[in-house]
Point group: C2
Chain length 364, copies 2
């Protein structure tokens, strides 16, 4: 945590922010360790304060040893008074706030209460950019979440039958995760059978998995706050030739992306590693989402590996980023194939963190 605070203070210096107010839950947890649902961090170059209400004071003291915990009566209401007190103590005239996480109404109340005494400066992505690079403590937890996810998909898919419904399969997966020690699923589990597999965000329903057709399963375990994300496309029975054509195109696209990921590559260039191959195979219109996304305390974080507007650019990959690599092809009326692994960007390439077997490794 001390290293994270140090990096934040460097970023604050670069933006000439003497103090910042952090309220977004994942950012608060990342910087402090505090897991409660309500509270604000106030960070200056010398101070690290955690303001929370009576429900969480004891817990905050235990979880956030690098912070001084101060009680506020009610999260929100007396915050302006607390900020003014702290500004007075520290001789501050400006506070940065998270413009993507503070609502217009919340900001208006805060600004009115501190008017003439404190300037509120909007910032975006200050903590999120730090979170893109995982430290060793984070990677240790993420490897556990990923290993559990691998075990779950392998054990559950071995038990699936064509007459199981999508919903039953999703619940089998969720139970196996929880019994394996996950806090819960990282996101609502997707099980999409047959034509439903053409919808990348299908919600599991009463459709049976069926035989000889694609079933897309997209799931991940959350362990100690960190998320995994894995997609396998399976077939119960015999895949046909059309399936293998689509499947092998997606697989090859993924392998090209894995072979090409390295520090310095721009995020939209990473996307192109897979997209260009899929487009050349004639399926360009059927890969409607980006290649991948960063993941950690949130399921979707930076970097976003996706195409940009013509002439646009994106940020370079850096060692320590963990991103999904999930090309897909979706054919309305038939179904779809998506294959997703997580990878860590290393100094000279990437390390694939997911280890669950893929269909072709078992089935052909």
């Amino acid at each position: 945590m001390l290293q994270r605070l140090k990096l934040l203070r460097t970023a604050m210096n670069e933006q000439s922010l003497p103090a910042v107010l952090i309220g977004a839950a994942s950012n608060r947890r990342y910087l402090s360790g505090f897991t409660g649902s309500a509270g604000w961090l106030v960070i200056t170059q010398t101070e690290a304060l955690l303001l929370t209400d009576s429900r969480y004071v004891i817990q905050a003291g235990q979880e956030a040893p690098a912070f001084s915990v101060r009680q506020i009566v009610n999260p929100g209401q007396p915050l302006p008074q607390r900020l003014l007190e702290i500004a007075g103590e520290q001789g501050l005239k400006q506070f940065g706030f998270e413009a993507t996480h503070v609502s217009v109404a919340e900001h208006a109340r805060l600004a009115e209460a501190v008017e003439g005494q404190l300037e509120l400066v909007p910032t975006e992505g200050l903590v999120e950019r730090l979170r893109e690079i995982k430290d060793e403590a984070e990677l240790t937890v993420m490897r556990r979440a990923i290993a559990l996810t691998d075990r779950v998909i392998e054990t559950v898919t071995a038990r699936l039958q064509p007459d199981h419904t999508e919903r039953q399969a999703a619940w089998m997966i969720e139970q196996a995760m929880r019994e394996g020690g996950a806090e819960g699923p990282a996101f609502p589990i997707i099980v999409a059978a047959g034509p439903n597999a053409a919808l990348p965000h299908h919600h599991p329903g009463n459709e049976p998995l069926g035989a000889n057709r694609p079933v897309v399963i997209d799931m991940g375990a959350r362990v100690d706050g960190y998320n995994a994300d894995l997609t396998r496309t399976i077939v119960l029975g015999e895949p046909d030739e059309r399936f293998w054509t689509v499947y092998n195109t997606v697989l090859e696209a993924q392998q090209r992306a894995i072979a090409g990921l390295r520090p310095g590559l721009l995020a939209h260039e990473a996307d192109a590693l897979a997209r260009d191959f899929i487009a050349a195979a004639g399926y360009g219109e059927h890969f409607g989402h980006g290649l991948g996304h960063g993941i950690g305390l949130d399921v979707h974080e930076g970097p976003a590996l996706r195409w940009t507007q013509p002439g646009g650019t994106s940020a370079p990959l850096q060692p320590g980023m963990v991103t999904s690599i999930e090309p897909g092809i979706y054919l309305e009326g038939w179904g779809g194939v998506r294959i997703e692994d997580l990878a860590l960007i290393t100094p000279d390439g990437c390390e694939v963190l997911s280890a669950a077997p893929k269909l072709h490794e078992k089935n052909r």
Copy 2:
């Protein structure tokens, strides 16, 4: 849905708003029936439009028959263009937006894009105030969620043993909910044993429930989008005298609140019904949260039954509100007791909707 739109239009008229833009998920669902994760409603006195992206167009058409569905390419990005188009069609110069749900950054981008053409007017609570009063369709679903919650707590607590951990107990509850037909838990289930019960929002861990000490269980099922919320404090084994003293104080406080709830009572007066009794018994400092909260599509909605600042006031209760009634006493190092039921405000009092037995009904 048509009645809800009519009430919204009346509220818009009262605030001289010719059009509103609704993006908060629960408000969107309440007004339209649409359950997707992304989309905007645009509502005028004569039009009801639902803007969503390609993932959700078919679903939106099925779920929201009172709305005209229009596709946007990407949720967020082309919204300003769409709003300008609609404003042009309808001859509108002003749009209300939800100031409590739109971030400072999102607002800044939207305002910049429509500058000089459309005025964005902040509104607060426009839909939330309608949602405080449940209609018959909502009450029917809520009664199902509450009945399932009652069944689950009763069947699971009958199976609990002192060597079950908090986490195991929470998982048994969650499984029973899901197998009983819930979409999921309304919120992360709280099981807090012994001294952990002194933390109103304890996260279940590896602590065994243990014998002869308080265990607070706070849980609720979500059914068709609507949430239940129930707390029982149990003891596996023999409660001691201190426990009964605390328990009976909380129980009596709850019963006084139930006896006193009626339309016209101000929310902070409702809180005082329980709080004054707990304070008179010497535990005033140990009841750190409000008496209750409205519940429906969100777990925490209006009305907030809590104390106000000295001289402050609050809104009157109205028939059709559904609120939790959940006094508690928390003693650091020992544990705590909370008892929570949901109640519907009726024309002449309240109807307790929860029916799960309480400890004293089984144990003494």
